[in-house]
């Protein structure tokens, strides 16, 4: 339960971080809040020669608005978002997701960028940000580029990050006032990894929506045009049109063979859809 030996570097900026990572020949691991990597290091599931701690890099600890997009630095914590130090993209959307992640003592250090880079399929941000249409900004010594979450996360615990790249920021479009967001997570114990996640961003006035089934042990299943789940169109009262069979077929195609697991995933998505239709429920805040 003690990490094996590693060297630690604490770069002051991303340029320095990129150089350290490039020089380590793939034997380095980026550390942010350490709330996922820490346990893996302690369990010796991961034994990097070098750990590059980017938690002190100022550029990663800020937010910005660029037009209609909220840009959150990768090292902003779940607690920063939960408490509103980082603004939200809509009424209690990001804050609600953040408040349900693990435990407060973990949220005080765990970061949004670290969570996405870890790419655990059962993690909250991966599903929530897929529903919100977020992109990630990746920094390397050769420059910056952006990727949709679906292109960034390539598998369970796998991302497209190259050895010298660091996720620098998460870019989330501001949600129009007419759109509603639902996010429901199913876990046996509060704070545990989810067994099922449902997320829905639906704009009944414009007739558009995106739905996500997460925690399927692989990258989340995204319905980029959620109208297929509601009989072909999204209108006010959409929740009553929710078509389980469409979700079921998609889960089968995604390789979820266990009918009980499919039932749970569909039910959790249905609850997220119901939540999106109604007023956001204060009681759904998991956190204290």
């Amino acid at each position: 339960m003690k990490a094996s030996r590693f060297a630690l570097e604490r770069p002051r900026d991303l340029e320095e971080a990129g150089a350290l990572l490039a020089g380590a020949g793939g034997l380095a691991k980026v550390l942010a809040g350490g709330q996922s990597l820490g346990p893996m290091l302690n369990l010796r599931l991961v034994e990097p020669a070098l750990v590059v701690d980017v938690s002190g890099v100022a550029e990663l600890r800020r937010f910005d608005h660029e037009g209609g997009t909220l840009v959150i630095g990768a090292c902003c914590t779940h607690a920063d978002i939960e408490d509103g130090r980082v603004p939200d993209v809509g009424a209690d959307m990001l804050a609600r997701v953040a408040s349900g992640i693990a435990y407060r003592a973990v949220r005080n250090r765990g970061t949004i960028g670290g969570s996405l880079s870890h790419a655990d399929p059962a993690a909250d941000w991966l599903s929530a940000l897929s529903a919100l249409g977020a992109t990630v900004e990746i920094a390397s010594r050769s420059g910056r580029h952006r990727l949709a979450i679906g292109d960034f996360v390539t598998g369970a615990l796998e991302t497209s990050l190259q050895a010298d790249e660091v996720l620098a920021a998460v870019r989330i479009p501001m949600v129009p006032e007419t759109a509603r967001f639902g996010f429901v997570k199913h876990a046996r114990k509060v704070g545990e990894f989810a067994h099922a996640i449902g997320a829905a961003l639906i704009d009944p006035e414009r007739g558009t929506g995106r739905c996500v089934i997460g925690a399927i042990d692989a990258p989340p299943l995204v319905f980029p045009d959620a109208s297929v789940l509601f009989g072909g169109s999204i209108r006010p009262g959409f929740a009553s049109e929710f078509d389980r069979s469409v979700a079921d077929r998609a889960l089968i195609d995604a390789g979820v063979t266990d009918p009980v697991a499919r039932h749970v995933h569909i039910e959790i998505l249905r609850r997220a859809v119901i939540q999106a239709e109604g007023e956001p429920l204060v009681e759904t805040r998991a956190a204290a």
Binding site: M1, R5, A49, V51, G56, C75, R104, V106, L157, A218
Partner: protein, 402 residues
């Protein structure tokens, strides 16, 4: 210390603990709770699970609760740490101590230091003595004595009393980012520890030498199609070395008999890599074109046992085959503790796809390209076993072993 152990790489650290400035030298791998307990003799911070689940090590970092066990001390330069010892004169903690005492909110006391710090945070932040939110807020602090009834009562009473006294709930102002992580100064840096990339095969020699029957803890099925007739596919499955070539990360060291193979597999899942080495027994039935590989392997800390049953059936088109793999495995050791069986399936699916592609290449008489992800002997991370991997590994093992 054993002679072969390299001297620890220590780096200077300065931080504040319970209001006192501390200058020390720490190894990067030393977590904050160990540093406080072992170097500063502040043993009030308890260690339970050491992977962030039990909450016994919860302490205050820059005034906010954080896990001591998954926060490395060397990343906390210039941070302000407060442990349970530093809260002796804290007014709110004194109220909580009295309430814990009154409500029988502890028995053995192991969880109490972390519990008090979590309770203090709730008493500061919760607007009302809401039992539901208190219970949710305590989900990250495990108590196995009290059933939480007394703890919840104690915290409720303190919150109610304080709100009655006109003390409102607050969330403190603070900079963005992980608590305790301050901008690095010009502190001397340690040189990267370029550890030699493992031994020749990259896999520890400690390996299982015998294979026993077992009941798998986890099973799953994988299917794929190959554009070659069943008899050719089944024949190739009979050549262990050919199969190993098709299976990313697998290698065969010896085939003492047609029914037995020795070798290993190196698997990588995200940051986790595992390298298992072991033995497998092989059974084949020509008539039904079915086979079974039963293997056991270890990587030094984690052990895996697994079996792969395969069946080669005629495909839907003439001259094609469908292969059905049923994989069962049991994993023991740290990887098992990590315990997320489902992740294996995603990895298995990707490996199966690659295996099927390589199989076709091989059947068409071409050489399989070495996969870039696992150059021989050099994994991006020196691996230990993964649970995940483990399973995978186990699986691969078997497969490969065939």
């Amino acid at each position: 210390m054993n002679a072969h152990v390299r001297p620890p790489l220590k780096a200077p650290l300065s931080l504040t603990v319970n209001g006192r400035s501390v200058e020390a030298e720490v190894e990067p791998r030393t977590h904050l709770a160990d540093f406080l307990r072992e170097e500063l003799d502040l043993t009030g911070t308890h260690l339970g699970c050491e992977h962030g689940v039990c909450g016994a090590c919860t302490l205050l970092v820059d005034g906010e609760p954080a896990r001591g066990c998954i926060t490395f001390a060397a990343t906390c330069g210039d941070a302000e740490i407060v442990t349970i010892e530093g809260l002796d004169d804290d007014e709110l903690t004194a109220e909580l101590r009295a309430a814990f005492n009154r409500e029988h909110a502890l028995q053995c006391g192991f969880c109490t230091p972390g519990m008090l710090i979590a309770a203090r945070d709730l008493a500061l932040r919760l607007p009302e003595p809401d039992e539901r939110r208190i219970r949710i807020g305590l989900a990250g602090n495990l108590c196995r004595c009290t059933g939480y009834a007394g703890i919840v009562r104690a915290i409720r009473s303190v919150i109610a009393e304080r709100r009655d006294r006109g003390i409102a709930a607050t969330v403190s102002e603070r900079p963005l980012g992980p608590v305790g992580a301050h901008r690095p100064g010009a502190s001397p840096r340690s040189a990267p520890d370029r550890r030699e990339a493992a031994s020749a095969s990259g896999i520890p020699a400690s390996a299982a030498t015998s294979v026993r029957e077992f009941t798998p803890a986890e099973t799953f099925e994988q299917r794929f199609s190959v554009a070659f007739p069943p008899e050719r596919v089944f024949a190739l499955f009979g050549h262990v070395k050919e199969v190993a070539v098709c299976l990313p990360g697998a290698f065969v060291e010896a085939t003492p008999s047609p029914e037995r193979v020795e070798g290993g597999i190196r698997v990588k899942v995200g940051p986790i890599s595992a390298a298992f080495r072991g033995v497998a027994n092989i059974e084949r039935d020509e008539a039904t074109r079915r086979g079974r590989i039963l293997g056991a392997g270890a990587d030094g800390r984690s052990a895996a046992q697994g079996e792969v049953r395969y069946e080669v059936r005629p495909g839907s088109e003439p001259e094609t085959s469908d292969v059905v793999l049923t994989v069962g495995y049991t994993l023991k050791g740290p990887l098992a503790q990590f315990g997320r069986p489902g992740l294996v399936r995603d990895v298995a699916a990707r490996l199966t796809a690659e295996f099927a592609r390589n199989l076709e290449t091989r059947l068409s008489g071409r050489a399989v390209e070495a996969e870039p992800s696992a150059p021989s002997g050099l994994n991006p991370f020196r691996l230990v076993a993964g649970l995940i991997l483990g399973r995978l590994t186990g699986w691969l093992n078997r497969i490969r072993s065939r």
